[in-house]
């Protein structure tokens, strides 16, 4: 993150004579332990006021999402495909009660359990999709930006073509191609993840390519060329590490988009079978008919889960974006000193 921090005014060029004085200042800057320099933690430390509130809200929501996904078997009262427990059926469309805190659905599933198990699907798809598109997109962007020429033109054209395609339509096509529209848990997750991956690759590709094209002209890359450094070393050591500073931002924004795409796929019926994994979009789809007959609990809770998950991840992403930009970042105000009285 060093590139984005401009030198504070007044620390530009101290006279060479007082090397020692500067050395101590540098030493104090270096003493920050490594864990405080990690992306989100360092952002948390440098934020104040509303920006900090937004970031903390986001981090808490994402934390709850991840924890729930991790501990789903412990928290959920029933399995995601259970319609009965100890031989007694749950009954369909039961309002919230002590046995079913959030009621049951039209097929007789427990809403609370479905919502909790649904976090697993959401997190799995998010992780697979973002990881896959991250690696492929970054690699292609690096290559395209550095090599340039016809390869660059071709890749940019393909990326633009994918970008121009409606992403949901593409995701539907991919899910049909991969799994025939319906499948088991991992097949469904993979289908959703791959279709989202295809849509997201151009984003990573473009961002990394643009950064690499800019960095390629920087003197430190030329300095490496002057000493005869090989292409692979220039790409790996000099370009990649400097081009990745915007990634946490796209990473988080894409994560929220992937949740939405998964839900939309499920809602349209291209998701995962209800008996192989729980999925919020599918539940929403089934709850559509309930809404008109006053059964609010079947649709509201999966919907709320989607909204909160997306909100949490987006808040983290947007806060990182604002904090990375020195012009948008608010800083702690200086203690006000009474204005000196000057006779004019």
């Amino acid at each position: 993150m060093t590139l984005s921090n401009p030198e504070p005014i007044g620390e530009g060029d101290p006279a060479e004579a007082d090397l020692a004085a500067e050395a101590s200042a540098v030493a104090s800057r270096r003493s920050t332990p490594w864990y405080l320099r990690l992306p989100i933690i360092s952002h948390l430390r440098s934020s104040v006021g509303l920006q900090r509130g937004m970031l903390i809200t986001g981090v808490v929501l994402v934390g709850i999402l991840l924890l729930t996904a991790l501990c789903a078997p412990l928290i959920a009262p029933y399995g995601f495909a259970d319609t009965s427990a100890d031989g007694t059926r749950f009954g369909t469309q039961q309002p919230p009660s002590a046995a079913h805190l959030l009621g049951t659905t039209v097929t007789g599933f427990d809403v609370l359990s479905r919502v909790i198990w649904g976090t697993r699907t959401a997190v799995a798809v998010m992780a697979c999709a973002v990881a896959a598109s991250l690696f492929i997109g970054v690699a292609l962007g690096l290559l395209s930006g550095y090599v340039g020429g016809w390869l660059d033109r071709l890749l940019v054209m393909v990326a633009d073509a994918v970008y121009a395609f409606p992403s949901l339509l593409l995701a539907i096509v991919m899910s049909i191609v991969i799994s025939g529209g319906q499948s088991n848990a991992w097949g469904g997750i993979a289908a959703a993840a791959i279709s989202i991956t295809v849509v997201f690759i151009p984003q990573y590709f473009r961002v990394i390519r643009a950064e690499v094209v800019r960095l390629k002209a920087e003197p430190f890359v030329e300095a490496a060329k002057v000493v005869g450094t090989g292409h692979r070393r220039i790409m790996g050591t000099h370009l990649l590490r400097n081009a990745t500073r915007t990634l946490p931002l796209i990473f988080t924004l894409n994560a929220s988009e992937s949740i939405l795409t998964l839900a939309a796929l499920g809602f349209l019926g291209f998701g995962i079978e209800p008996t192989s994994a729980s999925e919020w979009g599918y539940d929403l789809n089934r709850a559509m008919a309930d809404a008109t007959s006053g059964i609010w609990w079947t649709g509201m809770f999966p919907g709320l889960a989607i909204a909160l998950a997306v909100l949490g991840v987006t808040l983290v992403g947007e806060s990182i974006n604002d904090l990375n930009d020195p012009r948008l970042r608010t800083r702690r105000a200086r203690r006000k000193t009474p204005r000196k009285q000057v006779t004019a």
Binding site: T2, A15, P219, V342
Partner: protein, 565 residues
Amino acid sequence: MTATQNEESRLAIRELDVHFATDGGDVHAVDGVSLEVAPGEILAIVGESGSGKSVTARSVLGLLPETAEASGAVIVSGTDLVGLSQAQLRAMRGEDVSMIFQEPSSAMNPVFPIWWQLGEGLRAHRPKITKKEIRAEAITALESVGIPDAAERIDRYPHEFSGGQKQRIMIAMALTLGAELIVADEPTTALDVTVQAEILGLLRDIRERTGTSIIVITHNMGVVADLADSVAVMFQGQIIERAGVRELFANPREEYTQKLLAAVPHLGRNSAWTALEPAQQEALTAAEPVVVAKDLVIEYPGRMGKPAFRAVKGVDFEIRAGEVYGLVGESGSGKTTIGRAIAGLERTTGGSLSVLGHEMNGMREKAFKPLRRRIGFVFQDPATSFNPHLTIEQCIAEPLVVHEQQLTPAERGKRVRDLLEAVELPGRYAERYPHELSGGQRQRISLARALVLEPELLVADEPTSALDVSVQATVLDLFRELQTRLGFAALFISHDLAVVDSLAHRIGVLFRGDLVEDGHGPDVLQRPTHEYTRKLIASLPVPDPVEQEKRRAAFQAEWGSGTPG
């Protein structure tokens, strides 16, 4: 303070304090500055970067960023600016105070013609003004700053003017509303020396015609000696010395000022060639050339049917082993292109360029790679020439990793530490990151990296132009010492004749891609044969007000003052 004093002085700053809120905590940029500027006075504020000179001057227009907090008083024509609302400040700007920026090309809106730009200020202060009136005012304003055919040229766009003309237009804009005080922030830093002389002449002329007070912020002591009536020296947010210009240059009171003045290279003093013993001079003249350029042509391909741009048009020169060759020229003269071609960063298109016995015309990267280890390169901007994610040790060791793979990490570490010592930096700096060092320290690291493979040829592209004067002096000393000790040949590229003269044994002067002058330092500087070289030398302001006045008179007698009338 009394009212009478305010009437006497056009600007009075009292106890100005400016704080900035930054990530590193609170920065006290200006610390209790008090200043007065009399009507018609030209005050120069000098100091190194970070001394608070720009912040002080910008507070005169209330142009501080949001993170700044100012206290004290800035009184312009009887009104205290500190704490005024934005609307009140806008009313002040233009009519009472105006500003000239460093970079004239980015201070104008490229999509509007010149008369529109000039009309901006007029419209803001006189909402009922008609287009006809604006155009009439614009013509008068342009004529007053010496732009020919003003009536025709007000319909042109900014990009159709040269940098010097754009700066003239900026000055015209500052004058249209009759501002009595102009703040000029490094007004000539982005301009070439010959253009700089014209702009300085114009500023002086304006002061004489209209009695405008001018505050000039600059780091160039030659500009100060040429233009200013009085000087304020700033150091760490405070004004440490304020004196008349002759007095300051003759008897600087503070130790810091003395150091600052001593560090300024002075044209014609301590020439590198005359410092050599006759035997050394002979040895250098007889040495084998390491770089030979014959009728060298470098072109940049034109876009879509336009002819190619010739950056270098048939240049002949030689750099001999152990010799420092200085290449001087204005921006766009092709000096950097030549340096980059020697390092294999630019392709030559015609003639012949032989580097260490290897022909660069039609070179192949594979064939040239073994030679790369024998060439070092120092870049202009030390801030961007290091990978910010590598430590200093990794940066310096990069050439070793590429060319001497048999070395163990421990051996590499030792080489790096030896070099750090050679460039007079403590060995513990090896673990730091480039952004943790100052500009001068980084340029030392840059030298160390260029020298790690003990090259026979070093190309230094404006290595000190991004540094402060006193830092520049220490880096130049280091360069000179290392060159004497290690004996490498060097191509030293600079736009500053005085710097080149203090370092280079031979000097070549480039003018629009042609080498117009080539010879030993004293020959070029004292007996220039080409018209352009003579103008270049004459327009360079020397840091001595008395001598500069004579030089200015001589310059104006030969080339005119650059202003109308």
